[in-house]
């Protein structure tokens, strides 16, 4: 178990490097495809207006300590008095974002497109890796790991005597999938990296109003 495996240099040239390069190129391709498929949202005048009011109110709150108490109160009344304050929404008229989402088919469509542009390339690449590169010991991670990681790192080769730090080609694909995110955010701009986490947030807190987020 201790002696080193000798790996053929052909594996490096025809498995390790192509796999990584393809992963990077597919990531870039996916970015541009999803950019093409994105429909430009047409801003609704009412929504923009409401958003600006919220921003103004937030600025007032942030700067509350820099203006006299009297002027703060006057501004607060302007925003939130009971009859005609800008932020005052009469009871029962507030639309909850979930209903809004379902009433607007574009939004659901957009989300589906995003998800599809995510899932399809991943499935295809995985199938491609499985088809071409199954069963190679492609790499060796430079640090020791315990036996528990065997199923994670040697996915696709069933040899229990090989040292755990050797990585099969399929697992190298998974390592790439997670590790290349940082590289993509560098070469494609931050939208790409933020996309995943933002979508996750959207999914997680479904009935959560982004305008209510306090900075």
């Amino acid at each position: 178990m201790a002696e080193d495996l000798v790996l053929d240099t052909a594996i490096r040239d025809w498995v390790l490097i192509p796999l990584t390069v393809v992963m990077i190129l597919i990531g870039i391709l996916r970015y541009f495809v999803s950019k093409l498929m994105q429909s430009q949202p047409t801003p609704d005048a009412k929504v923009v207006k409401e958003g600006q009011v919220v921003v103004r109110a937030r600025n007032l709150r942030a700067g509350a300590n820099f203006i006299p108490a009297k002027s703060f109160r006057a501004r607060r009344a302007y925003f939130s008095n009971e009859e005609n304050g800008l932020l005052h929404v009469p009871k029962g008229q507030g639309q909850n974002p979930q209903a809004q989402m379902f009433s607007d088919p574009n939004m659901a469509m957009d989300m589906m497109k995003k998800n599809l542009s995510m899932i399809i390339p991943q499935t295809l690449t995985f199938a491609w890796v499985n088809f071409f590169f199954s069963g190679f010991v492609a790499a060796k991670i430079p640090f020791p790991l315990t036996q528990r990681f065997r199923s994670m790192l040697q996915n696709g080769i069933d040899l229990s005597t090989v040292d755990v730090s050797y990585v099969s080609s399929r697992s190298w694909y998974f390592l790439n999938l997670f590790g290349l995110r940082g590289l993509f955010s560098l070469i494609l701009g931050e939208e790409n990296a933020m996309d995943d986490t933002q979508r996750m947030m959207q999914m997680g807190g479904f009935g959560f109003d982004p305008t209510k987020v306090q900075t």
Binding site: D8, R12, A139, K140, I141, F143, N176, F178, L183
Partner: protein, 117 residues
């Protein structure tokens, strides 16, 4: 080396001790931190792989790299963190774990290409 985007200085009131932050500027500063950390972790991974670090040495190298990044960022902010960020954790810890994955990948990649085959 670190911090390409120029961070805008927020107005700090000399008379009043209260701190105000503009959310946009703060966000742009944090983005700079995220970029420099990612960049440094990728470069660090390649360097660690080429030098042939294994085991704990590599992780120590990563910690060292991140410490250097933090010092560089602090120097970039002219040693007055609170002018640009709302807490020290932003400079010292943000993006630390996110960079680790990239580091491990590029470390493995460079190490395999140079040393294994």
């Amino acid at each position: 080396m670190a911090g390409h985007g120029e961070s805008e200085k927020k107005s700090s009131d000399a008379v009043n001790d209260l701190q105000t932050f503009r959310a946009e500027n703060l966000q742009s500063n944090m983005k700079v931190i995220y970029y420099s950390r990612t960049f440094l972790s990728i470069i660090g991974g390649v360097i660690a792989g080429i030098l042939g670090f294994t085991g704990l040495t590599g992780f120590v190298f990563y910690f060292l790299m991140m410490a250097i990044t933090s010092v560089a960022l602090i120097a970039k902010a002219k040693f007055s963190i609170h002018t640009y960020f709302d807490s020290w954790n932003r400079v010292l810890l943000d993006g630390f774990l996110g960079g680790l994955m990239s580091f491990v990948l590029f470390w493995t990649f460079a190490y395999d290409i140079v040393h294994i085959f």
